[in-house]
């Protein structure tokens, strides 16, 4: 058969639909390198490819893509699963955040309790030392403010080894940025600072200065209002003056 006779067979051959005689003849042409038939079959493949796009469109099955990709081992993430994962992650983040807040609150409560315990222990220690000081016979007691029309009132205990113990009541509330400072005033010379303290909300104060005191040289114990950091020397009029000289 000639190329001219075979040219109407090209498309059917490319579709695998040639009858036996025509197929055998065309394959003989192709195997011999016939340029006409080779080009013709190539064009037939192109035409056939176009013809395969002729069918009218139809709705695609929704899950076909996932199924096809799954069949070759490729997992696809649907928007549903993405949202589900996002919800899980958001839930985990919220839980972590809530646990963090709870942890911080617990830590803050614990620190506050620890601070209260330390304060209580310090107060207990001070009370014990005060009692020990009061029990010693050589401790000297001075009352101040008694009989005066205005507070504060109280007592000062002085012990050469254990220092100065102050009990005071009706102390005025210190202004903002101010604190009380205890002074040991010698018979001659400048007052020596003996510590800072605050009164409670009712105006009461208990303060122990554990620095040894030279009773022979001490004339009085005084309290002044000073800046919060304290002062090297009194800067205001004393609110308490308790003479301790014999």
């Amino acid at each position: 058969m000639t190329c001219e006779e075979l040219k109407d067979e090209y498309e059917l051959y490319a579709l695998g639909l040639s009858d036996d005689v025509e197929r055998a003849e065309l394959e003989r042409h192709l195997q011999s390198g016939c340029p006409n038939c080779s080009a013709g079959v190539k064009r037939a493949f192109a035409l056939n490819a176009w013809m395969m796009q002729l069918p009218a469109d139809v709705a695609m099955p929704r899950n076909l893509r996932k199924r096809v990709l799954g069949s070759v081992g490729i997992e696809t993430k649907s928007w549903g699963s993405i949202f589900a994962w996002a919800a899980v992650v958001a839930g985990l983040l919220a839980t972590v955040f809530w646990l963090g807040v709870q942890d911080r609150q617990r830590a803050a409560g614990l620190a506050e309790a620890r601070q209260q315990l330390q304060n209580s222990q310090a107060e207990l220690s001070q009370v014990r030392q005060a009692l020990a000081m009061l029990n010693e016979p050589e401790t000297r007691q001075v009352v101040f403010g008694a009989g005066k029309p205005q507070p504060p009132r109280g007592r000062v205990f002085v012990n050469a080894k254990r220092g100065v113990l102050l009990f005071a009541s009706n102390l005025p509330q210190p202004p903002s940025g101010k604190t009380y400072e205890l002074w040991v005033i010698p018979k001659s010379g400048a007052p020596a600072p003996a510590g800072l303290f605050q009164s409670d909300a009712a105006g009461n104060a208990l303060y122990l200065s554990r620095a040894p005191v030279d009773l022979q040289q001490t004339g009085a114990v005084a309290v002044t209002l000073e800046p919060a950091a304290g002062s090297p020397g009194p800067t205001s009029t004393p609110v308490i003056v308790a003479p301790v000289a014999e």
Binding site: D8, E11, L12, A14, L15, G16, L17, S18, D19, R23, A39, K42, R43, F45, A46, L47, N48, A49, W50, M51, M52, Q53, L54, P55, A56, D57, V58, M60, P61, L64, R65, R67, V68, L69, S71, V72, G73, I74, T76
Partner: protein, 196 residues
Amino acid sequence: MLFFPLLFAAIHAGGDRELAERLKRRDPQAMADLYDRYGRLMYVLIFRIVKNGAAAEDLVQETFLRVWNRVQGFDHEKGALGPWVLTVARNRAIDYLRSVSGRMAQNAYELEASDHPSLFANLETELLNSDRARRLRAAFEKLTPNQKLVIELAYYEGLSQSEMAERMKQPLGTIKTWVRSALKALREDLGEAIAV
């Protein structure tokens, strides 16, 4: 209509060689891209042939598996990926029709041979082109009813001319005349659009 998927896919049409190369490297994303580019055309073609949604889904899956497994034999430097993929899809669907109707043995070898990747070398046909798709549809509409029927029997039912003659109860010579004249009309109408 196919125009939207064609338009969408046309954006990617220039990347068939790169896509084929990635498929050969077993890049999983390439398979997803192949589906996004040709999955719809493939399903529409297969559905037209088998006229059954469930079977069409199975055949689309089989086609992608076949492409995935045979892509190593495809010369992406020379080959046209789209025509090859659609030919594989058509042949799977025709094979299914034949198995259902007991025609399995007939033309089985030819069908198997006609989607060999090497046959698509130097075929530059760009499938995803909506203008050419319109021209093809217009050319097909110009055919006579008998010409349309034999073309559909050949492309979408996989019947040889002898089988068409039997089905249509027409002499083989008449069938061959209709087939020849239909293909000639299509070739002439499409002209350089199918030049390779």
